[in-house]
Amino acid sequence: MDLLQLFLELAQSTVRLSTPLILAALAGLFTERAGVFDIGLEGKMLGGAFAAGCVAFVAQSAMAGLLAAVVVSVLLSLVHGYASITQRGNQIVSGVAINFIVAGSTVILGQAWFQQGGRTPALSEGARFQEIELPFAEALRSVPLIGPIYAELLSGHAALTYFAFLMVPFTWWVLYRTRFGLRLRAVGENPGAVDTAGISVIWMRYRGVICCGILCGVAGAYLSLAANAGWTKGMTAGKGYIALAALIFAKWRPVNVMFACLLFGFLDAFAIRYQGTPLPLIGKVPVQLMQALPYILTVILLAGFIGKAIPPKAGGVPYVKER
C-alpha cells in the first residue's frame, strides 16, 4: 500500500473517532467555563445515543433521533445543574450519579421496549446520518495528492462530523466575541462580578449547562446514528472521560480542544489499525498497552510535564453570596 493511502486511511478514521470527542469536549467546555465541572459527559452522551437509537427507529428519521438525543441529554444536564447550581451539591458526585443512572436505565428500558438484549434495533439507511459526498469529490479524485485528500479525507463524512468541526470556530467566536461568551467566562472566573453587574449567576450557569447538554446529545446521536446503526449497551466506552481529559489537556480553549481530540482519536485509530502488527523499532506491542495509551498519556499530561492546566477559577465551587 502506498504511503499516501496509508496516511489517508489513518487520517480518515482519526476524524471519525475524534468527532464524538470534539462534540463532548466542547460540551464540557461550555459548562466548565461557566464554573460547573462535569464528569457526567459520558452519561449524557450515552443517554443521548440511546434516545437517538430509539426514536430514530420508531420514527424512521435521523433528525427525529437527533432531536430526541438533544432533549434527553439536556434534561440530564438540567439534573446536574439543579444539583450543582441550585442545590450547591458536589459537582463530581452529581456527575458520577448521572453516569450510573444512565448506564442502568438505558439497558433496562432498551430491554423492556425492544427485547434485543442491550441494543436498539438496527437502523435502516434512512434512519441514519448518511455520509455526505462533497461536490466534485469523484471528479477531483484523479488529481494527484489534493484529489485523494479531498475525496477521502474531507469528503464522505456524516453531517454531524462537519458540524463538530464547524463547532470549533463557532465556539471560539461565541466565547470571545459575544455577550453570552463574555458573561459565561466571567461567571466561571468570578461569579461575584457577574452578580454585582446585575446578571443572574444562576441563569448564566444553567445556560452553560444547557449548552453542554445540547452538544453531548449531538455527540450521542453521532455514535448511534452515524458511527453505528443503533444504540448498544455501554457504547460510549469511556469516550466521555477521554473528552474530559482532552478538555483539560486543551486548557479549556476551543481550538486546543480540537487538536487534543484529534490526538486521542489518532491514538485510537492507530491502535485499531496496528493491533498485533509488529512496529518498526519497537516490535510487537500488546494490544492492551495500545488501548491504555490514551489514558496513560493523559495522566502524563495531567501531571504537568507539558505545561500547566489552570481551570476556571470558580470551577467546582457553588456560588454563595457573601456572609
Binding site: 443512572i101 491504555a292 495522566v299 495531567l302
Partner: protein, 377 residues
C-alpha cells in the same frame, strides 16, 4: 461561609436523613419499574424475599456486603482528607494480583489461615501501590486526583487483561483466569456464625472475609477519630490552610491517605477470589469500587453508617438477582440505577431535604432554642 445548620441529634443526622434519601431514591427507581410495565411492589417483594428469604440468601447478601464494606471504607477514608478516590475499582482489580500470587504460591503447601494473612498483605500492597501513583501525582505534580484515578481505572482494566491473557493464565487454557486454588487458597465459610441464628449458609460464599471487613471498619473508626494521623487527615479535609499552619505535611497526608484507601479497596479482592471462585477471573470486581462511592455517601463516611449501607447494597445485589430471575424485564442493571440515585440523593442533593428535616426535628424535639441560641454576635 456556608449556612450553618443547627446541629441535629445523631439519630436524625445518621438515621433519618439517609433514610429519607433512600426512600426518595427507591421511589424514583419504582418509577422506572413502572415505566417498564412491572409492579414496583412485586419487585420489592422479590427483592426482600431474595435477600432474606433463607439462610442461603442472607449468606449471599452478607457476602456482597463484605465487598462493599471494603470499597465504602476506601472512599470514606479519602473523603475525610478531602480527597475523592474514584479509583477503587482499579485498585481492587490490581489488588487481585496480590491475592492470586499469595494463593498460587502457597495454596498447596500451607493451610488457609497461613495463606490468608499473606493474601491480605498482598491485596493491601497492590491496592495501595495502585493508589499511590495518583496520590503522588496529586501531592507532587498537582494533577487532579479525580481525573487521575478515573484514568487509572481504565489503565488497570488493560493491565489486568494483559496479566490474565499473557502471564497468569495456565498454559493451554482458553478462559481468562488463573488456575483454581487448592485447599490453602479457599477461605472457610461462616457456617458457625449462621448456625447461631439457626440458619444455614447453604451454597452461598459467605466467608471469613466478612469478619475482616468488620475489623477493618473498626480500624477505620480508630484511625479517623482516635489517632494523630486521622486528626491530621480531618484537619486537611476541612481546611488545608489550617493544616499547613498546624505543621501538617499535605503531600505526606495525601499519599498516605490514598495508600490506605487503596489498601482497603484492595482487600475487597479477597472476598470473590478466595471466598467464592477460588481463582482470579477477568472483571471480578464488577463495579464494586463504584458501589463504594454510594455506600460511603450513604453511610456519611462513618463506619457505623457504612456497614448498614453496605448491607443495604448487599440486599440490592442479592435481591436484584432474585428480581431478574422472577421478572426478566428487570435485569440487574436496576441496581446500577439505584446506585446512581443513591449517589445523587445522598451525595449531590444532600442539602435538598435537610432544611425541612432540620425544621421538623427541631420542632418535634423542642431543643432548637438552646442549641441555636449559641450562635449569634
Amino acid at each position: 461561609m456556608s449556612v450553618p445548620y443547627a446541629k441535629l441529634p445523631a439519630w436524625a443526622e445518621y438515621g433519618l436523613i439517609p433514610l429519607v434519601n433512600l426512600i426518595v431514591a427507591f421511589a424514583v427507581a419504582g418509577l422506572v419499574v413502572l415505566l417498564v410495565g412491572e409492579s414496583p411492589l412485586e419487585a420489592a417483594y422479590h427483592m426482600i424475599n431474595g435477600a432474606f428469604g433463607r439462610g442461603e440468601y442472607i449468606g449471599f447478601t452478607l457476602y456482597y456486603a463484605t465487598t462493599f464494606i471494603f470499597t465504602g471504607l476506601a472512599v470514606a477514608v479519602a473523603f475525610h482528607a478531602g480527597l475523592f478516590n474514584i479509583g477503587g475499582e482499579g485498585q481492587a482489580y490490581v489488588a487481585g494480583i496480590g491475592v492470586a500470587l499469595a494463593c498460587l504460591s502457597l495454596d498447596r503447601i500451607m493451610p488457609w489461615y497461613v495463606v490468608f494473612p499473606v493474601a491480605i498483605l498482598g491485596a493491601a500492597l497492590f491496592g495501595a501501590a495502585w493508589a499511590f501513583i495518583p496520590g503522588w501525582l496529586q501531592a507532587k505534580r498537582g494533577s487532579h486526583i479525580v481525573i487521575t484515578t478515573i484514568m487509572f481505572n481504565f489503565i488497570a482494566a488493560s493491565l489486568m487483561n494483559y496479566m490474565l491473557n499473557r502471564v497468569m493464565k495456565p498454559l493451554g487454557s482458553m478462559s481468562l483466569e488463573t488456575r483454581t486454588f487448592e485447599a490453602g487458597g479457599q477461605l472457610p465459610k461462616l457456617d458457625w456464625l449462621m448456625k447461631i441464628f439457626g440458619l444455614s449458609v447453604g451454597t452461598s460464599p459467605f466467608n471469613v472475609t466478612f469478619l475482616l471487613a468488620l475489623a477493618a471498619a473498626f480500624g477505620v473508626w480508630v484511625l479517623i477519630w482516635r489517632t494523630r494521623l486521622g486528626y491530621e487527615m480531618r484537619t486537611m479535609g476541612h481546611s488545608p490552610a489550617a493544616a499547613r499552619y498546624a505543621g501538617i505535611k499535605e503531600a505526606r497526608i495525601i499519599v498516605i491517605t490514598m495508600m490506605i484507601s487503596g489498601a482497603l479497596a484492595g482487600m475487597m479482592a479477597l472476598n470473590p477470589i478466595m471466598g467464592e471462585t477460588y481463582r482470579m477471573q477477568l472483571d471480578f470486581v464488577q463495579g464494586a469500587g463504584f458501589v463504594g462511592i454510594a455506600v460511603a455517601l450513604m453511610g456519611r463516611s462513618h463506619p457505623a453508617g457504612i456497614i448498614p449501607a453496605a448491607i443495604l447494597f448487599g440486599v440490592l445485589y442479592q435481591g436484584g438477582a432474585e428480581i431478574s430471575f422472577e421478572m426478566p424485564s428487570i435485569s440487574r442493571d436496576m441496581i446500577v440505577i439505584i446506585q446512581g440515585l443513591v449517589i445523587l440523593f445522598a451525595g449531590a442533593l444532600e442539602h435538598m431535604f435537610r432544611p425541612a428535616i432540620t425544621r421538623a426535628v427541631l420542632a418535634v424535639s423542642g431543643r432548637g432554642h438552646t442549641e441555636a441560641a449559641v450562635k449569634g454576635a
